[in-house]
């Protein structure tokens, strides 16, 4: 089982760019890197996925270096509604199981 590590909590002001980094020290060759967003009392929501280099969608950008040992989720110009917990779950090889850690709490301040 690959292990990812994340910081626990961070604050940011509205309008700023927020970058959250995750370590993937034991990522396997065919593992995807995925990120999820969870609001209070809701289930996590898939927001972005990548394998290598950069991926961008309407919600965020995901940067993955060549060695794939880390990934950085970038939230451009955050608003109060971006306050949530962000996860980069581990993939359990061969079974399509994801192990979520505690995630990273992002609090956006007015």
């Amino acid at each position: 089982l690959a292990k990812t590590t994340q910081p626990i909590s961070m604050d940011s002001y509205e309008g700023q760019e927020v970058n959250i980094t995750c370590s993937h020290n034991n990522i396997a060759t065919n593992d995807y890197i995925t990120w999820y967003q969870q609001f209070p009392s809701q289930g996590p929501r898939f927001i972005i996925q990548g394998y290598k280099t950069k991926v961008t969608n309407e919600v965020a950008s995901l940067f993955i270096p060549a060695d794939r040992k880390s990934s950085t989720l970038s939230l451009p110009r955050v608003s109060l509604s971006d306050t949530a917990v962000y996860y980069c779950p581990d993939e359990c090889h061969g079974n399509n199981r994801l192990a979520f850690g505690k995630g990273n709490q992002v609090v956006v301040i007015p």
Binding site: Y32, N95, N96, L98, G101
Partner: protein
């Protein structure tokens, strides 16, 4: 489109009582199904997953069990609840690694 239904939204149960939480998926066939629990201040813990009818794998030994009587139905049960079973229970489905997981809205269980 695919949807996932989970109920009830909230539940208060006494210690020692039984539990049955139901999750159904619409709009897809043969999904992988998952039960997660999130205790207060903790991360999501995978409890059970299923790759097909009647196929259940348990991740954590506990007094909970899961069943999949139909392709798109996943049930979480307990014969006797413990205080430590309190938490936020989430059902999820996926079809392949590229599609990601889709979670239900969750059930907040309080055992008193």
């Amino acid at each position: 489109s695919q949807t996932i239904h989970q109920w009830p939204a909230t539940l208060v149960q006494p210690v020692g009582s039984p539990l049955s939480l139901e999750c159904t998926v619409e709009g897809t066939s043969n999904p992988n199904l998952y039960w997660y629990r999130q205790a207060a201040g903790r991360g999501l813990q995978l409890l059970f997953y299923s790759v097909g009818i009647g196929q259940i794998s348990s991740e954590v030994p506990q007094n909970l069990s899961a069943s999949r009587p139909q392709d798109r139905q996943f049930i979480l049960s307990s014969k006797k609840l413990l205080l430590s079973d309190s938490g936020f229970y989430l059902c999820a489905w996926s079809v392949n690694r590229e599609s990601g997981y889709t979670f239900g809205s969750g059930t907040r269980l309080t055992v008193v």
